[in-house]
Symmetry: C2
Subunit: 203 residues, 2 copies
DNA sequence: ACCTGAACACCGTTCAAGT
DNA sequence: ACCTGAACACCGTTCAAGT
């Protein structure tokens, strides 16, 4: 075949196909991805730097909705919106999280969204230096953790043939209750915001 | 060489060597592990089921300290002790966390510790069914998140050559402030405990 | 510029052979 | 029972060859 007149691949196409594989199988492989795209493995390397680049692309896809979140005058409301959109992005593709956790964040879209959060906390709220970084880390962990628990409940702990308090609780639980998980997330988010607000008053 | 009179390998030896590699390099490979142990790759398979088994063994090593945590009459204190020991276990080996997150928990030592937590929350505190599982998940996420943020701060976000609110905050931050991270963890833990207590009063 | 096939180094796992 | 070397299927990456 060789070079077609119209390129059949693009970064966008590759990233979304990879994400689809992750959603379906919980993982993706470069050969699997090439097969899904009807292309030879080496073709991919004309568009992406390698596997890690594709993973970063997936991170970009998950954080893209954050771009459209409207700002708010109240810093607490701005943080709320940011955290909810961030969590939602990951919650929609929980299988991707382990991959993302094991790799440094370098995707520009994602970094830009962290910059936005940093600006909200610095310019609007008035946090500085170390406090600022701690706040970002807390919010980051909250969103990731909340999305992570959607990935798994029945699957996190192997339901072997024991009979214990844990296995009974697992059996009693319905499949991942997304609504309940969301409420737990929102409650913890309010707690963090309140704690930041208290900290600001003290200064 | 063939079979030695005294076995030179054991599960314990394999697991601890693997954990040392993870601490040193952030990852481990079966060949690397064999090399470190001065043994051929196939020898390992006489003692462990495979790579996933070794990862579960590492999980067991990290949760072993939990075995020695003394029980407490007060459920709130019991939960506090459990969560602190759990977090400390992971915080001592943060590089292992991505590996652990991507694999179902099947290690018996770890499962036994989750059973203990479930018993505390069920028998001592009085939580039931779904509430129980939600509480466990919240505590699990808290500990994992807290340990995760120790893994990284300067490394999570690629410090490229931009100048933004985020990069300035990163530059201002000292290396991972373990003490500050611990205080943030303990504050969030108290919040969860208080929220569980309030929930119990309501019933 | 963009696709291909062939090649390479590496990984996880299996298995027959040795004691 | 426990170590070994050889073999296998698979993965990520590179590169010269084609248009």
């Amino acid at each position: 075949m060789a070079r077609p007149h119209q390129p059949i691949l693009s970064r966008e196409l590759i990233m979304t196909a990879a994400l689809e594989l992750v959603d379906k199988d919980g993982r993706f492989t470069v050969p699997e991805l090439a097969h899904k795209l009807g292309v030879s493995v080496s073709s991919l390397y004309h568009h992406v730097g390698g596997r890690a680049d594709i993973v970063e692309g997936i991170r970009g896809l998950l954080t893209r909705p954050l771009t459209e979140v409207a700002p708010a005058d109240d810093w607490q409301e701005a943080v709320r919106r940011w955290a909810n959109a961030y969590r939602d992005g990951f919650a929609a593709h929980p299988a991707a999280i382990p991959m993302l956790v094991s790799q440094t964040v370098s995707n520009p879209v994602t970094l830009a969204q962290y910059d936005r959060l940093a600006e909200i906390l610095e310019d609007q709220a008035g946090l500085t230096g170390d406090d600022l970084l701690v706040a970002i880390t807390m919010l980051d962990n909250l969103c990731l953790g909340a999305a992570l628990d959607l990935a798994a409940p029945p699957e996190i702990w192997s339901a072997d043939n024991r009979d214990t308090a844990l296995t009974r609780a697992l059996a009693a639980a319905p499949d991942p209750d997304r609504d309940r998980s969301r409420r737990a997330f929102e409650r913890q988010l309010e707690v963090i915001i309140a704690s930041l607000a208290r900290q600001l008053v003290r200064d």
